[in-house]
Amino acid sequence: MSVLELRHVEKRFGEHPVLRDVSLTLEAHRVACLIGASGSGKSTLLRCANLLESIDAGDVLLHGQSLGDPRVDPNLVRREIAMVFQSFNLFPHLSVLDNVLLGPRYALGRDRAEAESEARTLLARIGLESRAGDYPDRLSGGQQQRVAIVRSLAMRPSVLLLDEVTSALDPTLVGEVLDLLRDLATAGTTMLIATHEMAFAREVASEVLFLEEGVIVERGTPAQIFDDPQEPATRAFLRRSE
């Protein structure tokens, strides 16, 4: 069964359509990459998927269950669909450790000691355990983004949404974040990634979707999209981003 599914999703900001008839299915342990120009609707798609934005038509399903059902609590949904942002959005008033603990403790209501040992293990995995007591301002951008990813993982989500997580980074820091994502993909984490890193997408994605003006123009395996794009728009986009 699919973990996350979008069916004919429509989203408008006022009169302006941002998503038109978007459908996609993400199976467990698979990675899907969304590519497309800035403003093509990638971020909006991700936000609609975890109910940070409401949708105007269509349906979003988690483990086959419709999230359009009014009985569904969006807070419970978001605990399963984690999201990482372009600008990290770490909480500057909390230490690295407390950033990671915030969700487990105050959304999941978990015991501090237990959550803390798990958080420290996660921080150790990204080599930042020694910085647990530091405040985020003291970390580099790459370190901050890795903490942000760990903060999402601490929720033990079913699926991880990543919104251009390397776009705000200094080029020298992009590698460490992509390395972490590669590790996660290898470990079988289900991910929906909006990205500009084509080489990375080709490497980790099981499916690549090209989005233009709110429409999924073309989808396929990395080989199909990058080596043999069918649509003129896809070809034009790939030429531009080389």
């Binding site: 949904v77 984690a82 959005n89 909480f91 230490s95 915030l102 007591g133 530091d134 405040y135 999402s152």
Partner: protein, 296 residues
């Protein structure tokens, strides 16, 4: 002009400060600033001594004898102590500050909420801040202090003037402080809220754990500013008949026809407010350095 023919390179002195500026640097700079401070103060004091009415002002405003008697009070002459009057000011503003912090926060949170359930509270909160920021505090003091007793409503109508004063100050200042909080809440980047909500935190938990802690840090200086202002406004409660520092000073002044008691009251208020302002600055600096230095 340097002589480059000696082959020693350019003259190092061309990079030096002008000599006049060297005098103001380092330890000598401290001495210079001390001297200039003394000179400015001396100038101000000499104006005070040489002005035609200077002697008169010194006798009526700065008589040490009167200042001391006003501070201590003299029951045999019916003079109340400005010093013990200040204790009334202190407990009035301590109590008001605690109440204002809590009530102002509730109002601010009601104003920024988008929940339809809270819609009536949002309207009320907006109305409240509009009305009570618009009415002079003195009038609120009068309305509460003379209005509530007139209702003849048992306990509500039989409190001491200081209690009515605390009520009036709390009502007025909650409106100001609510707006300070609201500005702080609005200054928290939207990404912070998105991040917290995407972790599955409820609106309330997001407010409590993410938005408010950051908002409060931002608004500590303006908040403390309002508190300093409120410490001074406790003097308005004197209009209800409460004997606090300014009222005791006024009684002294009107009994003896000497204004030195007001200077005593002013100095006592400074003793209260200056440590508070210094402490605020210290808090801000500490918070800043803690975040930048990364100590745990």
């Amino acid at each position: 002009m340097t002589d480059s023919s000696e082959g020693t390179g350019p003259d190092p002195a061309r990079l030096y400060l002008p000599r006049r500026k060297v005098a103001f640097a380092g330890r000598r700079g401290t001495a210079v600033s001390a001297i200039s401070s003394v000179a400015v103060i001396a100038l101000l004091v000499s104006v005070f001594f040489w002005a035609p009415g200077g002697a008169n002002v010194r006798a009526t405003f700065f008589s040490f004898h009167d200042m001391w008697v006003a501070f201590r009070g003299d029951p045999s002459k019916g003079l109340l102590s400005v010093g013990s009057g200040l204790i009334t000011n202190i407990w009035m503003f301590l109590l008001s500050e605690v109440l204002v912090l809590a009530i102002g926060l509730l109002i601010a949170v009601a104003r920024v909420s988008r929940s339809p359930v809270l819609a009536p509270f949002r309207v009320l909160a907006t109305l409240y801040t509009d009305v009570f920021r618009g009415i002079p505090i003195l009038l609120v003091v009068y309305i509460i202090g003379f209005g509530l007793p007139a209702l003849s409503l048992g306990a509500i109508s039989s409190q001491s003037p200081a209690v009515y004063g605390v009520t009036a100050l709390t009502i007025s200042y909650s409106a100001y402080v609510a707006e300070v909080y609201r500005a702080g809440i609005n200054s928290v980047p939207h990404g912070q809220i998105l991040a917290a909500r995407s972790l599955g935190l409820t609106y309330a938990a997001t407010m409590r754990r993410v938005v408010l802690p950051q908002a409060v840090r931002t608004v500590i200086p303006p908040l403390l500013n309002d508190f300093i202002s409120m410490q001074k406004d406790t003097a308005l409660v004197s209009t209800l008949g409460a004997i606090e520092a300014t009222r005791a000073a006024q009684i002294y002044s009107s009994t003896v026809f000497n204004f030195s008691s007001y200077v005593v009251a002013a100095l006592l208020f400074l003793v209260l407010t200056v440590p508070l302002t210094r402490y605020t600055d210290h808090l801000i600096a500490r918070d800043r350095s803690r975040r930048l230095a990364g100590a745990s």
